[in-house]
Structures are given as structure tokens and as C-alpha cells.
Symmetry: C2
């Protein structure tokens, strides 16, 4: 392995100077810089990241924590896509990202160990679970972190999110505008903030129009495809004329059940989903859905985290990214 030391010796400069050149410090004469760079190139010198981290006190690596519990729902492409956004942003800022798919047990180990071992400059947490002890542990630590998805138990915390409440409200409003009045909802897990918020949006929209919120028209689908299907089966005999489904993944399961039951979408039942994952476009019929900018959430999480690392004393940042209703066929708008 080529070291700074060697470059210094061969270029006739001091180690300090070589370090400056390598780090683009302007306080080096052009002549010296050229001489050093020459040798750097010739030997294909790469600064040792570990030594650099130890000396500089920064590792240039971020952590991403995704609770395994949701990981198991990896049929839902939300997390892979989020990861993509995080990864892209990290690459562009010359950061590495280390991935922690933590089951509850690993979470403990993570908190006890990784959190304080100095490997990470900061972490991004995509826990949706309301009672996650990790959030508490992070808040108590000095490690900079940002949440993807707001978290009521830690209000003074940095996060990026969408406005799930008003987005869900807008989705239901869309169904109302199309003339639907018996609107059901299939909700996500009720111990996640997204699940709760999207349900609240549903309630608000109904109330706003004086529609009753009927308990029997509210079924938990747990954010999974199978859960969505099961919820739909439960809803079938109640004959809603529209359903707001709190994730596209669940909506795919819903469509399957409706097909089996011989019901037409949107003629018999109109559907609006949430997320706009790739499956929404490919669904049959194509799914009208509230698009969430998942990639951008990942990217913003990184940018926010980097900002916090640079400016530890700035106040908490809450970033809300816009959603957008993508009208396809499942809502029936094209028939009107």
C-alpha cells in the first residue's frame, strides 16, 4: 500500500505538504502541487480512509437503519427505493453508507455498540414504529441523526417526511369529487405514524363533507399485500363504492380479491392507493395513487444529515416534501 510518507519522500515535499495537496488545500504553490501530484498519479496513491478518519475525527460514513420487522415486508419496494435515494446522495457527496437491517435484537446491539464506536458520522433511521426505543437512545446520544418519517414521541428531532394527513385527505377528497359516498379505507399498521396519519386524513375528508365515519368500513391491512387482500375480503359484503388503500402494495392485494369476486374497478368499486410504487402503474387497472417522492426523501435525508453534521448548533430541521395525486384508471376519473 502506498502511503503519504512515500509520496513525501519521492516528491521531496513534507508530509504536511503532501496532505495539503491531496486535500486540495489552496495554500500550496503551484510548483509544489504539480510535483506532488505527479508522484501521486504515478504511484496511484489513495489516502487511507481509516487513518484519515482517525486523524480528522470524521469517517465520512453514514448509517441507515431499517427495522427488520418492516424489512420482512420487502415485497414492498418502498425501502429499496429509499435506499436508492440515500445511496445516490451519499455517493455524490463522497460518503459511504452502511446498512443496518435490524431486528429488535440487533437494534439493542446497535444501540450499545455501533452507536458509540465512532464508525459513523451520523445515521438515518427509517423506523416507522411509534414506540421504537432506538429513537429514544439516539436522542440521548450525541450522534447526529435524521428520521425518515416524523415521530411524535420525539418532536424536537430532525426529519424528512411527506404530509401524510393532508395527502390522504386529498386522496379521499378525489373519490368524493367523483361522486363516491360510501368510502372505505384499508389502513396501514396502526403503530406506525404513516398508518395513523393516513387514517386521520381519511377521517378528516369524510367529516369535512358530513359523511359518517363507519367503523365497519375501516379495516387494517398492515401494509402488506396479503393483509390488503384479507382486508378486502372482509370489506366485500359491506359493498363500499370506493376504498382509500393506504399503500399500493396493499392495493395490489385488493385488486386480486376484487377480480376473484367478479367486481369491476372502478365501475363497482373505485380505488385510490398511496406511494406510487412501480406496481401501481402495472396494476390492472392501473392504480390511481398519491405519489410519494421516495427517492427524494432518501436524498433529502442525506443532505439534512450532512447539514446537521456541519452545523451541530442549528435548530432541528423538519422537511416536508410534496406529494401528488397520480390519476390513472382505478378511480374512474377517466370515465367521466
Amino acid at each position: 500500500m502506498v502511503t503519504l510518507e512515500e509520496i513525501a519522500r519521492l516528491s521531496g515535499a513534507s508530509r504536511s505538504t503532501v496532505s495539503r495537496v491531496v486535500n486540495n488545500d489552496p495554500h500550496v504553490s503551484d510548483k509544489t502541487r504539480m510535483r506532488v501530484l505527479e508522484v501521486v498519479r504515478k504511484l496511484n496513491y489513495q489516502p487511507n480512509a481509516i487513518a484519515r478518519s482517525l486523524a480528522a475525527g470524521r469517517t465520512h460514513v453514514l448509517g441507515v437503519i431499517i427495522p427488520k420487522r418492516v424489512t420482512e415486508l420487502f415485497s414492498d419496494p418502498y425501502f429499496p427505493i429509499l435506499l436508492q435515494g440515500v445511496s445516490t446522495a451519499c455517493n455524490s457527496f463522497d460518503y459511504a453508507v452502511t446498512l443496518w437491517l435490524a431486528d429488535p435484537e440487533d437494534e439493542l446491539r446497535f444501540m450499545g455498540k455501533v452507536l458509540h464506536n465512532g464508525l459513523l458520522d451520523g445515521v438515518i433511521v427509517s423506523s416507522m414504529v411509534l414506540t421504537d426505543p432506538l429513537i429514544t437512545a439516539l436522542s440521548a446520544s450525541t450522534l447526529p441523526f435524521v428520521l425518515v418519517g416524523r415521530h411524535p414521541s420525539a418532536p424536537a428531532v430532525n426529519y424528512v417526511d411527506v404530509d401524510n394527513i393532508s395527502s390522504a385527505q386529498a386522496a379521499v377528497e378525489h373519490l368524493f369529487q367523483l361522486g363516491r359516498r360510501r368510502i372505505a379505507t384499508i389502513t396501514g399498521m396502526s403503530d406506525t405514524i404513516a398508518g395513523v396519519d393516513r387514517f386521520r386524513g381519511y377521517e378528516i375528508a369524510l367529516r369535512e363533507h358530513g359523511l359518517a365515519v363507519l367503523p365497519e368500513l375501516i379495516v387494517d391491512g398492515g401494509f402488506s399485500e396479503a393483509g390488503g387482500a384479507a382486508a378486502m375480503r372482509q370489506l366485500l359484503p359491506l359493498r363500499p363504492d370506493a376504498i382509500f388503500v393506504a399503500s399500493d402494495t396493499m392495493a395490489v392485494g385488493v385488486l386480486r380479491v376484487l377480480r376473484e369476486a367478479g367486481l369491476r374497478v372502478p365501475q363497482d368499486i373505485a380505488l385510490v392507493g398511496f406511494d406510487d410504487t412501480p406496481a401501481a402503474m402495472h396494476a390492472e387497472p392501473p392504480l390511481t395513487t398519491m405519489k410519494q417522492p421516495i427517492i427524494a426523501l432518501g436524498e433529502m435525508a442525506v443532505e439534512t444529515l450532512l447539514h446537521i453534521i456541519e452545523h451541530p448548533d442549528s435548530g432541528p430541521r423538519r422537511i416536508i416534501l410534496p406529494t401528488q395525486l397520480v390519476v390513472r384508471e382505478s378511480c374512474g376519473a377517466h370515465l367521466i
Copy 2:
């Protein structure tokens, strides 16, 4: 941050001794050990991973590289699931995993930089692309690596894989045994080893039974759902009585097109997929498919890599994991 130095001072032991205790070195008297551990616990001391890495020459972090090109097909849960296996194994061995979702440009940066910056003890590469320059660069470097998926251009290399050829052959054989004779195939990308191998298995199976390999019954679906659907549309007028689809993700697209065309699966066309992703089970009808142990592939990749790191001089390891035909409804076996 609590340091070794502090523990030494407070416990009255030397830094060497504290280091030994922390690293479970048996050459420490019980008395001393207790005394040190007492202080360690009290101060909640966590060894600094960076300092440790620099001193020991090992970082305990592995890299996973997934080419962005396939990443964009993240609707295919293969990669997330693989990641899960890798992550689980790393956790259990106390390694961290850093994720590189590399587009071709990032790949260059990776090779030039990350490959030699000392951050990684080794890397796992899940490139399926035949001509990937990364493989060449890795082979030329001293960094230990293992491939997920064999690679003909680098035969003397460590990899874990399934036997795609014989697995595909068995899948087609199954269709043959069910009486199908006009068997088409929708192939994966022809510049991936999995794509090529699965196609070869198809050929072999047909030839074995004296069936002609008809070019018009071979259509590229590019491993994506949309590609699978497009391929099926092309196949529709040719009326095959069975199709071997080289991935479940494509098969989902195929099923959609068949439904639109009013064809019954398996009565009119029998289908066998590949992978056994969660979508296979949820498909309509449930998909018969060649199950690939994706999680296990990820885990074995880690174990193999760790083995290579420990034993740099052992010969190359090639690990082939078994596949298994999962018979559901799309092949028609249940009707017989």
C-alpha cells in the same frame, strides 16, 4: 468519548492489559480482568472502531456492490432479499456492511477509490453483467471478494450461485412431463450469466426430448415485469401451450397479458417461473416456480468472504446452492 487510556488509568492496569481484557485475550488474570471490566461497565466504554481498525489492519466492514442498472429494476425483490441475507450474516459475525449501488460512473469511482482506500476488508459483488469491468479490476487487486452468481470471464474466482442451467432444465422438464409440447421461453437479459444459463437449460431440456428449439418461441423479457408483458404479447399469436419464464417478476407481467387476452392459466397456457419471490405465491393463479435460496446465497457469500479473508491462500471457493421446484397452480399439475 471514553478511551482505553481512561479505563487504564481508572482501573490501575496498563493500556495493553485493558486492550487484552476488551478483546477477550485469555492471558489475563481473573482478578485483573474483573477489575478492568468493572470500570469498562461503569463508563460504558466502547472501543473506537476506527482506531482499532488502523492498529489491527482490519476494519470489520464488508462492501456489497450492486450495479445500479439492475438496481433500477428494484421492483424485482431479488436484490432486497439478497441484501437481507448479507446483512443478517454480517450482523451475526459482527461485521458492518456498506452498500454501493453503483451506476457505471460510480463503478469507476469505486474502483479507483474505495477499492484501495482501506475501508473494506472485502467485497461481495452481485453483478450479473457478463462484461463488468469491475470484476476485472477486483481480480487485479488484492482485495478479497466473492461473486454472487458465477462469472465465466473470471473462472478462478470465488462465488456462490445456484445451478441455473440444470434448474431451468428441470423447470422445462416439468412442463414436458405434464404433456406440454409447444414450450416457449421468455428469457432474461442475454448479457447476464443467469439469463444465458437459464436459456441453455431450456434448450437442453427440449433437445433431450427431441423437441425442436424454435426461434420464434424464444423472446427476451429483460428480467422486468414490463419486459415480460411485452414478450408475452409477442408470443400470443404463436399459441405456445407452455412457457418457461426466466424470472417470477417477468411472469407477473405475463399473467397480466394472458388475463387481458382471455386465456386461462394453466388450461390454455402453462407457466413455470424462476426465483420464488413473494409475488409468485400471490400471483393469480399462484405461480409454479423454481425456488432459489436467495437469503442463503447472501449468507453464504458473507461466510465465504470471511473464510477467504481468514485464509488468503486457500484455493478459490465455488459454492452451488440447491434449487427446488415449487409446484403451485400455474403449471397445471394439480389438474391431473
